[in-house]
């Protein structure tokens, strides 16, 4: 029924099956929308946040999706600026994932603020010395860049592309995509970094605080670096999930291998820097404020030293080694294990830099505050996942996302 909209040379499931998928995921989406409306109408008392946990699940989700969506800017940077041309076969999907991640981040922020109707004050009354201001500006600008990168893909839909203006527009936008990609990389460097700076500048919170260069704490650079390192891994993970779901190979092995290799080297260099940062913080920064490392990892039911091991060893060193060594990287099973570990590692890092910063008592007579999210927080965090699945499903069905698909899966 919708075959006229499906790209030439590829096969898709029946419209009925597709509709069923959308309906199931759509139900989850509606659940999230309901929770979102509750938060907007009734206020943030719908959450389990409190005066000790001003930042909680949502801010973690925000930081995590932005880190994972870093695949878009870094793959774009590699393709358009560095000149890794093979990556043209995965860049569309990286852009799509980035678009989903960033739109989700903006949506979550809109739910997270206490007075959503005043959200624009962050632009109007901007305090340029605040990391959050930089995040808001760069995030919005980069979302505009991602939209610009996504639009030509939409215009390449078989029917839309028949409209001469759309056809020319898509072609022209592709023509100067390097300019947009470079702008995107510039903006991403700053907003990824500023997100790292959010906790890094909190000199009242010794767990999050880091020294640094000029106005930027070390976490500024670590966050940018980790997003560039782990983002491509997330793109590869999503590619694998879509390949499993569609039962087809969508990207050639050499492309996957190249991106995995780059991601591996980036993770390796990042984790060395992260270890150096952790050591300096544990041996110099925190003791200068009267804390030992174990003050941050004891006397509470959740945050043990295991979380540091999970983040750095399991989520950093191990995936880095697997992805850097050619033998292990080319083993599909090991590669996927490394990618999943990496995604967990960066997500744990973001969790720690938001939630644990809030949990650690600073005044000696204060206590470890624990937190678990309310169902409304969980639902609104799942909402972007459902939205992402729907957008990927629609884009995969109707847009030429994977240029190698027709060649890898010839239609008789």
């Amino acid at each position: 029924m919708d075959s006229a909209l499906i790209p030439k040379g590829v096969q898709r499931c029946s419209l009925g099956k597709f509709t069923l998928l959308i309906a199931v995921v759509g139900a989850v989406l509606l659940w999230g929308v309901y929770a979102m409306l509750l938060c907007w109408i009734k206020g943030l008392n719908q959450t389990n946040m409190n005066d000790y946990y001003g930042f909680a699940l949502w801010i973690w989700a925000d930081l995590a999706v932005i880190a994972l969506g870093g695949g878009a800017f870094f793959t774009g940077f590699l393709k358009y600026i560095v000149g890794k041309d093979e990556l043209k076969n995965i860049i569309n999907y990286a852009v799509l994932i980035g678009f989903i991640c960033y739109s989700s981040a903006l949506l979550i922020l809109a739910i997270d603020i206490g007075q959503p109707l005043r959200g624009w004050f962050i632009f109007w009354h901007a305090n340029v010395h605040s990391m959050l201001t930089e995040v808001a500006f760069c995030l919005s600008c980069y979302f505009a860049v991602l939209t610009i990168e996504y639009i030509p893909l939409i215009l390449e839909n078989r029917q839309l592309n028949k409209v001469p203006f759309f056809h020319h527009l898509a072609h022209n936008m592709h023509g100067i995509m390097a300019v947009f990609a470079a702008t995107g990389a510039f903006l991403s460097f700053f907003h990824q970094g500023s997100l790292g700076g959010v906790s890094g500048v909190l000199f009242g919170r010794p767990f999050g605080y880091r020294e640094g260069v000029f106005v930027w704490p070390w976490t500024f650079f670590l966050f940018t670096w980790s997003a560039a390192a782990y983002g491509p891994s997330f793109t590869l993970m999503c590619t694998k999930i879509l390949e499993k779901a569609s039962g087809k190979q969508l990207v050639k092995d050499n492309v996957v291998d190249l991106l995995a290799k780059i991601s591996g080297w980036m993770i390796l260099t990042y984790i060395i820097a992260k270890i150096a940062d952790t050591l300096y913080w544990a041996l110099v920064t925190a003791p200068a404020r009267g804390h030992t490392l174990m003050d941050f990892y004891s006397n509470n039911p959740v945050y043990g030293i295991w979380i540091l091991v999970l983040e750095i060893v399991l989520g950093g060193i191990i995936p880095a080694i697997i992805l850097v060594v050619p033998g292990t990287r080319r083993n599909g099973y090991l590669r996927m294990t490394a990618i999943i570990l990496g995604v967990i590692g960066v997500s744990v890092n973001r969790w720690v830099m938001v939630l644990q910063v809030m949990a650690v008592p600073v005044m000696p007579f204060d206590f470890w505050a624990m937190y678990y999210p309310s169902w409304q927080e969980v639902a609104t965090t799942i909402l972007p996942v459902a939205y992402g699945i729907i957008l990927i499903a629609l884009s995969y069905r109707y847009l030429p996302i994977f240029p190698q698909e027709p060649e890898l899966n010839p239609v008789d």
């Binding site: 201001t133 020319h168 022209n172 592709h174 947009f180 510039f186 700053f190 106005v215 240029p403």
Partner: protein
């Protein structure tokens, strides 16, 4: 966000921040305008199949 607004201070931080911001916005805006105008002109000229599809794309 714009000079002249309440509490606007022209210090180094503002210049750096706003400079970077408007530079990025300028590039995005100009790039988009260029694409749209070029596409409009090409469409008006009827250059529908003037270039191959899918070669340099993606």
């Amino acid at each position: 966000m714009f000079p002249g607004f309440f509490e606007w201070i022209w210090d180094g931080g503002h210049m750096l921040f706003m400079g970077g911001l408007w530079y990025a916005l300028g590039i995005i805006g100009l790039g988009l305008t260029y694409c749209i105008f070029k596409a409009a002109i090409e469409t008006a000229q009827g250059d529908g199949e003037g270039h191959g599809h899918g070669d340099e794309h993606h």
